[in-house]
């Protein structure tokens, strides 16, 4: 069990297991999971491909129901739908191509029945915060991949979520853009005081952004280690030059390498050493 932080948790996930059906064959996606995120905490999850990270996020957000176990957000059970106060950013580009950037960002607000003046205020703030002001009247296909992902983050930001779930949001971006987007995310996290659960493949991303990092095993995924980064809240991408950054990534890689090899027993030595 991963030790719970001292404050009353914003999010708890206690699963015995999660099994889904794939063509009549049961797949054990997740094993025993027991995590608790403190309010305002930035928690990242890393693990080998196919270990169930995204499934864990969807269960935490109410997009999927766990086979066995409970999820709570601010003490209330998450049951069958995404709770109010939870925002989710996906790995894939989820910006709506038929709407302008401004209307994409306002989309969720309009669904929540917020009045027009307040919508305009929040959208203007988000456009400014995510540096999208010059592109407010563009359509997403006219933007780069990084800008489209910023639109999706802005669309979540305007709803002022207290819990932000991010499923590999920068996976499709180049390394330089990922670092810059990481800084944007930290800025967002600090300004909103939201709790963040980030699913990522990037060891550097997890090491730079997180307060704690949960390392998952191969499928059925469960946590094999939790690392506390110890970074100050006002950190930015410059932490990559700290010796501790290297120690964190090395510690993560030690676990991941073992899990990756375990999940691919037939892999050649070259793959295992990669």
């Amino acid at each position: 069990m991963i030790q719970a932080p001292p404050a009353a948790p914003a999010l708890t996930v206690h699963l015995n297991e999660h099994v889904y059906d794939k063509g009549g064959r049961p797949v054990h996606a997740l094993g025993e999971i027991d995590i608790a995120l403190a309010p305002g905490e930035f928690f990242s999850v890393i693990g080998p491909s196919g270990c169930g990270k995204s499934t864990l996020l969807e269960i935490a957000g109410g997009l999927q129901k766990a086979t066995s176990g409970t999820v709570t957000f601010e003490g209330k059970p998450v049951a069958g739908e995404v709770p109010d106060g939870v925002g989710i950013v996906f790995q894939e580009d989820a910006s709506f191509p038929w709407l302008t950037v401004r209307n994409n960002i306002a989309f969720g607000l309009r669904r929540h029945g917020i009045d027009a003046a307040e919508i305009e205020k929040r959208v203007d703030y988000a456009l400014d915060f995510m540096r999208l002001g010059d592109f407010a009247d563009h359509h997403p296909p006219q933007l780069s991949g990084g800008m489209r992902q910023r639109v999706c983050i802005a669309r979540t930001l305007v709803l002022r979520p207290r819990l932000i779930l991010l499923d590999e949001p920068f996976a499709a971006l180049d390394q330089q853009t990922r670092l810059m987007m990481g800084e944007e995310l930290l800025r967002l996290w600090r300004s909103t005081n939201a709790t963040v659960l980030l699913i990522t493949h990037g060891l550097d991303e997890a090491a730079m952004l997180s307060d704690r990092i949960g390392v998952m095993s191969a499928r059925p995924g469960h946590f094999v280690e939790t690392l506390v980064t110890g970074w100050p809240r006002d950190r930015d991408s410059r932490v990559v030059s700290e010796p501790h950054f290297g120690e964190l990534t090395a510690a993560m890689w030690t676990h991941l390498r073992a899990e990756s090899m375990r999940s691919a027993p037939d892999a050649s030595g070259a793959t295992a050493d990669a």
């Binding site: 997009l63 939870v86 989710i88 989820a94 709506f96 038929w98 709407l99 989309f107 359509h139």
Partner: protein, 250 residues
């Protein structure tokens, strides 16, 4: 105007000029065909006389009704079929084989069932236009990125809101294809129905002129019909081009 468009117009203009030349050289006799320039003059006179307007209105109303029914009913049925797997398994082979059946042979049946009036014409237009819309709707709904539906779920949208605010716009490029098919087939159905048996309409006007050996009227009405259909198709093509450009698909 880009080079392709210019060349396309040049090909059409060249064909018209060739026919004009062949008519003037009497290679094509006036008994067979009036020259394009004469057809244009005859059309202007015909329109000025006011004679074709009732037929044109009759055809336009029937065609619009057939298109509207095809698009709306086709969309609703397409969504239902896509959402109900068992229904889809039942009707998929029928939809796939539909255009292999010469459905126009049912026009006499429509007349028997609905009478010799605009209803039977609308019905045959719908019979031809509906299936393309259904198939395109199913295809479009199948191809909606899953992440859009997950995004809709994060906003706790109702099924109706999800359909109209996310699924429908997300499927737009495919729905345009369905609308194009519905328009094309509905026009074909209505005009062909009028041509065979009808109390009024542009198709009937052409048929009457043909039977009376009235080439001037027949070619003028054909020109009117072709021009109208071309304008509609160019309009839809332009709409499609704008949507695709906005989506970054072309």
């Amino acid at each position: 105007m880009n080079l392709v468009t210019t060349l396309r117009i040049a090909v059409i203009a060249g064909a018209a000029l060739l026919v004009e030349l062949l008519c003037r050289l009497n290679v094509i006799t006036p008994f067979t065909m009036t020259s394009p320039s004469n057809t244009f003059v005859n059309l202007v006179h015909l329109l000025a006389s006011g004679k074709p307007w009732p037929d044109l209105t009759f055809t336009l109303v029937n065609t619009l009704a057939a298109i509207l029914v095809s698009v709306v009913v086709g969309f609703v049925l397409g969504v239902l079929i896509q959402r109900i797997p068992r229904l889809r398994r039942v009707v998929s082979p029928l939809l796939a084989a539909y255009y292999a059946v010469p459905t126009f042979v049912f026009y006499p049946l429509m007349i028997v069932l609905l009478g010799l009036n605009r209803l039977s014409l609308i019905a045959i237009g719908v019979t031809l236009g509906l299936i393309g819309m259904i198939v395109s709707t199913i295809d479009g709904m199948d191809r909606i990125p899953r992440v859009f539906l997950k995004t809709a779920a994060t906003y706790r949208m109702s099924p109706v809101a999800r359909t109209f605010l996310v699924a429908l716009p997300a499927a737009t490029p495919h729905l345009i294809t369905g609308i194009k098919l519905a328009v094309t087939y509905s026009i074909t159905g209505v005009i062909a129905g009028e041509f065979i048996l009808s109390v009024a309409g542009l198709g009937r006007g052409i048929a009457v002129a043909y039977n009376d050996l009235d080439n001037k009227t027949m070619y003028a009405l054909l020109a009117l019909l072709l021009t109208s259909v071309t304008v509609v198709n160019v309009g839809i093509h332009e709409w499609e081009r704008r949507v695709y450009a906005r989506w970054g698909l072309r």
